[in-house]
Every structure is written in structure tokens, then in C-alpha cells.
């Protein structure tokens, strides 16, 4: 039986100066080697949960363990275990892909030689070798997404958190990113992924959880969930479980 890459136990989180809590006694396990998709309507708590899992938000109750290490202890060594690809372009647009990777590689704990090797490999995989020395601000949205992803995986993380990694990109880039993520997973990286692209999730994820109003309302393999709820696609399952009303 696989160990938990992410183990969330009785999680409780309330934003400062807010009376209602986002999560209360939330439990969730993501097993090592899974391609885990976290889905839910707008405002359901996906990003907040991901921010708790990556230590960006400090929760008030319960625990979150990454490969057995409590994230709340906020030891910087835990941060070596995971990579994070935020939805926003989280790098320096004034710098080139090589310069960005050099900087974030150093901050991820790699030495000069490791950075050099990994940079060459990632630029090749992401199709950015030809523009390696151009400023990222001159890139298209799709190219920037690839830079964003490359930075997140430069230190070979055991767990990779991805928040809408393919938003706003064309079909080719999406296909390339999904293929690369699958390859990473095959090499042993656990993926924790959120997206609004449900068809993409069907292609990528082998385990999904639906979150609504701060609660996990479904958690299983995609096939099992569709079977249980008599749906043929994730979109139908999504509507079935969360309803059709607008969310803010």
C-alpha cells in the first residue's frame, strides 16, 4: 500500500478578521504517485486549501503532513520536498528563462552545476532553448506558462502542486504541459492539481476530489466516481454534485 504524500487531518482554517471558517475538520489523503485533481466551483476553497498545503497560509487546527512532515512547523527543509506552480506568473519578467531558472534554482537549494544541467534539460523539454536568453516579458502567454512550470520543477520535487497550470494557453502548449506532467509522475512525482478544465483533468488525473463550501464532497478514482454517480464525464459529475447555481 502506498504512503500518503499529503495527509490532511481535521483541518480547520479561518481567514484573519473573518468569522466564518473556510474549513472545519477537513480530511484528505493524496497517496504517493497519484495524479490528484482537486476540483470545485468558484469560492469552494481550492486555492485556500492549496495555500495551506504549501505553507502559504497557516491553519489554526488539525495538521497537514507532506511525506510525514508537518507543514505547520514551517521548517524550510520541508519546502525542498515540493514544488509549486502558482496560477499567476511567479517569476521575474525582466529576466530571461535562464536567469530565472538560475535564481530560483539557487533558492531551491541546487548548486551551480545542478542548475546548469537542469536548466539545459528543462529548456529543451519546454521548447524554450531558442529563446533562453530573451526577456520573458517578450514571451507569449503559453511560453510564460512553460517558464512558470519549469521553475516549479527545477529541484525535482517529490510533490508538485499546480494551480491552474494551463489557464489561457493554446492546445499545443496544453498538450505539451500535460504530457510533461505525466512523464514527471511516471518518474515518481506526486501531482496535486487544480483546474477549471475538466476535460483536461479527465486526461491527467487518476484520482479526484470535489470540494464545495469548504468540504470534500467526493473523493475517489475518476472511474469509480462516475460509476457511483452514473455519469459519463467529469463535467456531468461536477454539476450533479455541486448543483447548477452561480457561485461567487
Amino acid at each position: 500500500m502506498s504512503n500518503a504524500a499529503v495527509r490532511i487531518t481535521n483541518l480547520g482554517f479561518t481567514y484573519p478578521r473573518e468569522s466564518t471558517s473556510c474549513f472545519s475538520n477537513l480530511n484528505l489523503d493524496v497517496l504517493e504517485g497519484e495524479r490528484f485533481g482537486l476540483f470545485g466551483p468558484n469560492g469552494a476553497g481550492k486555492t485556500t486549501l492549496m495555500n495551506c498545503m504549501t505553507g502559504l497560509l497557516l491553519y489554526q487546527q488539525g495538521s497537514i503532513q507532506l511525506l510525514g512532515n508537518e507543514i505547520a512547523h514551517h521548517k524550510k527543509s520541508i519546502n525542498k520536498l515540493f514544488g509549486f506552480v502558482p496560477q499567476d506568473f511567479s517569476f521575474y519578467q525582466e529576466l530571461s528563462p535562464v536567469e530565472n531558472l538560475a535564481f530560483f534554482g539557487a533558492w531551491s537549494g541546487l548548486n551551480k552545476a545542478e542548475i546548469k544541467n537542469k536548466t539545459t534539460e528543462l529548456l529543451e523539454v519546454m521548447g524554450l532553448t531558442d529563446v533562453r536568453n530573451k526577456k520573458v516579458e517578450e514571451f507569449s502567454g503559453g511560453m510564460k506558462r512553460r517558464v512558470n512550470l519549469a521553475i516549479g520543477v527545477i529541484h525535482n520535487p517529490k510533490i508538485l502542486f499546480l494551480d491552474e497550470p494551463t489557464v489561457g494557453v493554446d492546445v499545443h502548449t496544453r498538450h505539451a504541459i500535460i504530457s510533461y506532467l505525466k512523464k514527471l509522475n511516471e518518474e515518481g512525482t506526486t501531482l496535486v492539481y487544480t483546474s477549471h478544465q475538466l476535460s483536461e483533468a479527465e486526461d491527467l488525473c487518476n484520482k479526484v476530489a470535489l470540494i464545495d463550501d469548504g468540504k470534500i464532497i467526493a473523493h475517489d478514482t475518476l472511474q469509480q466516481l462516475m460509476h457511483d454517480h452514473k455519469e459519463e464525464g467529469l463535467e456531468g459529475l461536477f454539476i450533479n454534485l455541486t448543483g447548477k447555481s452561480y457561485r461567487n
Partner: protein, 426 residues
């Protein structure tokens, strides 16, 4: 160390690619130093090379009027332009509106007569006090028509006061001469000989101007010595526009978030920013001082003389730079948008410069501002530089300025760390 070096490299790359920021950081202090020094130098020269244009309307036909004219010329501040006696006050005002001159003096028709009367009255009072003449009637001359000084409203108050002082001293010379003549006549029953009059009037005690320097030199500070250090400090603190903005940009574009998830403490980023921008402030000072030394003389401005204690200048520059950089980072940490950082940063620097003595000399500050002034880091930077540049002091002589500056810097650093902790950024 590798992480720090990588971060410094990143910061310097971003800095050097921000062309507008570089222009702001280097061109602005150069322009400020040149413009302010040129303006102050021309004011200084105007006061010393007889170039304040003055309209002179001498309606008096007597000797005192002529003497008054001569005394004004002798003051050495004014370039006299004669106005025809028939011109009215209104016509003189119109000439001033046309910027023919910024001041005009009107000597009334009966100036000699009334001045003589006043001198005689003073002489009689004096003799009466000496018990030498008690029977004469003292005429009240308090209603003597005064000299009229017209001045253009553009004339600054301080400048007007100095002109007023110069004219009063000229008037005093004329008046004293008349009193002496009256006394001489009353005592000797004959007019005072010209030779004796000249001897008395020219026998004035000279004023020996000595700048109080710490190194014993007697060099009188010029406009460059005052302005170059002052505007260098101002420019250093104006780094808030570039650095404060850079911190905010980093927060807004999500880089902060990414950095927080990496196994490196954000303190490394803070140290890197401080070192990178400290280097920039040092280069700023180097550039502005170099311009003061080599370019100013070519431009006809007084040369900046570096103090003897160069090490002291370097250390003071580094400490001032560190304070400026710390302040900029603090603004960046607390500002929510780049506009906020730029607005609050720029306005606060101008305010701190104003209360710190960069715009108005600190000794001229009202008493209520003295405490506020001591809270401005720019004040301590300026005082430290002045201790070296104007007083010829060494680093140990400006330690009392450096200690409060370091205290303020430390406080700024603590506030920044508190801000970062409160925002969950470290």
C-alpha cells in the same frame, strides 16, 4: 553564500534593465546638484559683485541725498539705475513691473533738510546730557519723511531683509556724518574740516570673517560645499521610487509567493536588496561628488573640495546609503500598490528633507520643529556630511550624528521585519 550571490545578481540584472529607474537614480541628483548650486552660486555672486539692479530716484537736491547715493554704491550690493526726478512713484512701480529692477529707492525732496534737523536735534540732546547746552529748544523731528523702498513681490523675504539691512547701514553712515558735523559745529563754532570728517568716517573697525573649522583651515565654504552633499543625500533617499517599487512589484507579480514556498529564508532577499542598492547609492554619491570636483569648475561653478578624511566620507556615505535603502524597503513592504509606494515614498522624502534642513537651514527651524527635525534621517545624514565638508572634521567628529542615524536605521529595519511577519512573508 551562493544563494545570496544569485539573489544579488538577479537584483542587479533587474536594476540595470530598468532604464527609467536608472535615469531617475543618477540623472536626477546630477541635475539637482548642478541646478541648485548654480542658482545659489548666482545669488551669492549677485550679492558680492554689485549686480542687484536698483532704481534710484533722488528727489533731494542737497548734500545728504548725494551722500546717501554714494553710501549705497559703497555698500557694494547694488547696480544703480538713475530715475529722472520728475517721475512719479507710479511710473517707478511700472518700471519695476517691467522687471527693470527688483528694488527702487526714493529719496524725498527735503531729505537733506530733515536729516540735518534730525542730526541737530540728536546733537543737542547729546550736549544737553553732557550738561553743556541747556537753553536751546529741541525741535521734534519725528515726522521726517522716510526714505521709500519699493520692492518687487518676487523678492524673497530673506533677501529683502538683507537689502534693508544694507540700506539701513548706508543711511546710518549719512546720519552719523550729519550728527558729527552738528556736534563739531556746536563745540567749535565752525564747520568740521573735510579731512577730519573723512578720517572719522573711514576709521571703521573691520570685521574678520573666520569659518569655524575643525581642522584649523580658513577656507570659506562655497555653494558647492553646501549643495553637493545635501542633494546627494536627497538623491540617495529618492531611491525609494525604484527600490520601493521593486519590492511592491515583487509582491504583486507573485514572486513573493513562489519565494515563500522555496527552502530559503526571505531574509536573504532582503540582504541582497540592501547590498545591491547600497552599491547604487554609493555610486550615486561617487558620480555627484565627481561632477562637483571636475565638471563644476568647467561650468563656472565653484569646485567641490573633498574633506581631508576620505575614509570618513566613504563610511558616512555607506551609512547614509544603508539608511536610505532600509527606508525604501520599508515603504515597499507596507505599500499595497506601486502608486502607493511612489506617492508615499516621494512625498515623505520631500517632507523629511524639508524638516531635516535640506531646504531650510536647520538653525532657521522654529523651536517646535527641532524635535521633528531630529527624527528625520536626512537631517543626520546632512549634519554628518556638513561636519566633514564644511567644518573640516574627521569621522570621529561626526560620530554624534552617525549614532542617531544608525538608531533610526535599526528602527526602520525592525519595522520592516514586523511588516513582513505581519504579512506572513517571513
Amino acid at each position: 553564500m551562493f544563494k545570496l550571490w544569485s539573489t544579488i545578481l538577479k537584483d542587479i540584472r533587474i536594476l540595470t534593465r530598468d532604464k527609467l529607474g536608472l535615469v531617475f537614480m543618477f540623472v536626477m541628483p546630477i541635475v539637482l546638484a548642478i541646478v541648485i548650486t548654480a542658482v545659489q552660486n548666482s545669488t551669492f555672486e549677485m550679492l558680492n559683485t554689485n549686480t542687484v539692479p536698483m532704481l534710484m530716484c533722488n528727489r533731494d537736491t542737497g548734500e545728504a541725498g548725494r551722500q546717501m547715493e554714494a553710501a549705497i554704491v559703497k555698500v557694494g550690493m547694488f547696480k544703480l539705475k538713475q530715475v529722472e526726478v520728475g517721475q512719479t512713484d507710479k511710473q517707478i512701480s511700472d518700471r519695476m513691473h517691467a522687471k527693470d529692477a527688483v528694488i527702487a529707492i526714493i529719496i524725498p525732496e527735503d531729505f537733506t533738510q530733515k536729516l540735518k534737523q534730525k542730526a541737530e536735534e540728536t546733537a543737542k540732546k547729546a550736549l544737553k546730557n553732557f550738561g553743556m547746552q541747556t537753553d536751546s529748544v529741541i525741535v521734534d523731528t519725528s515726522a521726517v519723511q522716510p526714505l521709500t523702498l519699493l520692492y518687487h513681490p518676487v523678492l524673497q523675504e530673506s533677501f529683502r531683509h538683507s537689502i534693508n539691512g544694507a540700506l539701513k547701514s548706508a543711511l546710518q553712515v549719512v546720519q552719523n556724518k550729519e550728527i558729527l558735523k552738528s556736534l563739531y559745529f556746536a563745540l567749535n563754532d565752525k564747520a568740521m574740516p573735510d579731512s577730519f570728517e573723512n578720517e572719522l568716517m573711514s576709521n571703521q573697525v573691520a570685521i574678520n570673517e573666520v569659518p569655524v573649522s575643525r581642522d584649523g583651515s580658513r577656507n570659506i565654504p562655497n555653494a558647492s560645499q553646501h549643495n553637493v552633499p545635501a542633494w546627494t543625500v536627497f538623491a540617495m533617499f529618492f531611491i525609494v521610487i525604484s527600490l520601493g517599487g521593486s519590492v511592491v512589484r515583487e509582491k504583486l507579480n507573485g514572486s513573493f509567493i513562489r519565494l515563500k514556498t522555496l527552502p530559503t529564508n526571505y531574509i536573504v532577499a532582503l540582504i541582497s536588496k540592501q547590498l545591491s542598492y547600497l552599491f547604487v547609492t554609493f555610486i550615486q554619491a561617487l558620480v555627484v561628488f565627481s561632477i562637483g570636483i571636475w565638471l563644476f569648475p568647467i561650468m563656472g561653478l565653484p569646485k567641490l573640495d573633498l574633506p581631508a578624511d576620505i575614509t570618513g566620507v566613504v563610511v558616512v556615505t555607506l551609512i547614509c546609503g544603508w539608511c536610505a535603502v532600509s527606508y525604501a524597503i520599508m515603504i515597499g513592504v507596507f505599500a499595497k500598490t506601486q502608486e502607493q509606494a511612489n506617492g508615499i515614498g516621494a512625498v515623505s522624502i520631500v517632507l523629511m528633507a524639508a524638516v531635516g534642513g535640506l531646504l531650510v537651514p536647520s538653525f532657521a527651524m522654529p523651536a517646535s520643529f527641532q524635535i521633528v527635525m531630529k527624527m528625520s534621517p536626512l537631517h543626520w545624514c546632512l549634519e554628518a556630511y556638513y561636519g566633514l565638508f564644511l567644518e573640516g572634521g574627521k569621522f570621529k567628529d561626526v560620530l554624534l550624528n552617525i549614532i542617531p542615524l544608525l538608531g533610526i536605521t535599526l528602527a526602520i529595519q525592525l519595522i520592516t521585519i514586523y511588516g513582513l511577519k505581519r504579512k506572513n512573508l517571513i
